[in-house]
Symmetry: C2
């Protein structure tokens, strides 16, 4: 049993979902992301409904247990985003994600902080994106915001961690998300990080979705991890997401 | 070169798109459909933008020339659909689809008629759905509406035609859409229909999308069609969609 806790099924076909299942993935966390800048907050509200209803159904056709994560991604902040925040505040959720900062604009920081506050009120686990560009600088800003809010460490995974920001995150108590795909981490790099910092806080994922055909990277890396795979490719995600 | 003029790429992964290209599909028409009942008209407006911008880009990654078709599907009519119709009326489009009737409710008829009127004003080709249930009865109703509006025959394909409604459509001048997939037509049935009524008006498609892994049915049927494939699997769709 393997858990891939960072997937965007809205970019995947049913054949892709079946391929994930065939390579040993049994559980996924499915993160909301709208791939263009939306003009309306309503688009996200319907999108969250689609994720929880339709995408969950599609995953069930592939025998995948799917945990939906919703929220405003920093690259798809709509105008009048307070409408989305109100909707998030007035319903119950399994997880928020991906949320976080891309360039740390004033708007992004406001959206991120308000979602973190909702997560604390509602006790909802958060999958927190770190960007490809200026990763170290943005991770520092992200951690400052989490500290300012006194955000519970067990309630957040700092995701897409690589050698640029590993030292910042390794000394903290947050979960550490390691994304194995081209342009992020190779399998060998992910294994190296787990061996360096231990398996207690590490969570492996693929970030499979719209453009990336990386459906099997968690399963492939699990083989290299040996005994450590149990925690890093299943139990840690299960505990973090309370499955 | 093959043209599959009824695809929903929003249910397909990039690997699926590449598979279509590999089997010989060079052109697709990508039809808008929201797979749950939307709560807001704005969701469709952003959805049309996503189709024209992001899905077109994804198709280009697979070297597929993609024609976007937008509109309100009878199973995804939002509240306040006039907002969507106004948006359709105030922009230019390559095609409308899928539009049509599912159960022929008063609301569906109103939405369908208003989109047909826009198509006539703007000279936009329409891909017109016929449902799985009560196909004959709903096709009769559909043709009555088209006749009432004096809708130009070259501007519409009546889609998902099978043995239940073939006689109604064969005697008319509209394009005839033949969908080859499980539960619709087999390859052999599609070939039989083309042989019976001639290749002049027939257009083959797969309706590949959210649940159906039928990426190659147009290519497979083209092989069985021999010389007739040129029109039925490419030239007719090209002419109808003015590519």
């Amino acid at each position: 049993m393997l858990f891939d806790p960072h997937v965007h099924t809205e970019g995947l076909g049913l054949s892709d979902l079946k391929k994930m299942r065939e390579c040993g993935i049994t559980h996924i966390c499915d993160l909301y992301f709208y791939p263009i800048k939306p003009l309306f907050p309503q688009t996200l509200i319907d999108g969250f409904r689609k994720l929880r209803e339709f995408e969950k159904f599609r995953c069930s056709l592939a025998d995948l247990k799917m945990i939906p994560a919703v929220g405003i991604h920093p690259r798809s902040i709509p105008p009048d985003y307070a409408t989305v925040l109100n909707f998030l505040g007035s319903n119950d959720w399994d997880a928020f994600g991906e949320i976080g900062l891309e360039i740390a604009s004033k708007e992004e920081i406001d959206v991120f902080e308000k979602q973190l506050k909702l997560a604390m009120e509602k006790d909802v686990p958060c999958i927190i994106h770190t960007p490809g560009k200026n990763k170290r600088e943005i991770t520092i800003k992200t951690l400052e915001i989490l500290d300012k809010l006194n955000f519970p460490e067990e309630l957040a995974v700092i995701d897409h961690v690589n050698f640029e920001n590993l030292d910042l995150v390794a000394k903290r108590g947050f979960w550490i998300g390691l994304t194995v795909q081209e342009g992020k981490l190779t399998k060998e790099e992910a294994v190296g990080i787990v061996e360096e910092i231990g398996e207690v806080k590490c969570i492996l994922n693929s970030d499979a979705g719209f453009g990336n055909n990386v459906l099997t990277t968690v399963a492939e890396t699990a083989k290299l991890l040996g005994d450590k795979a149990k925690k890093v490719c299943f139990e840690n995600a299960k505990k973090f997401l309370r499955v």
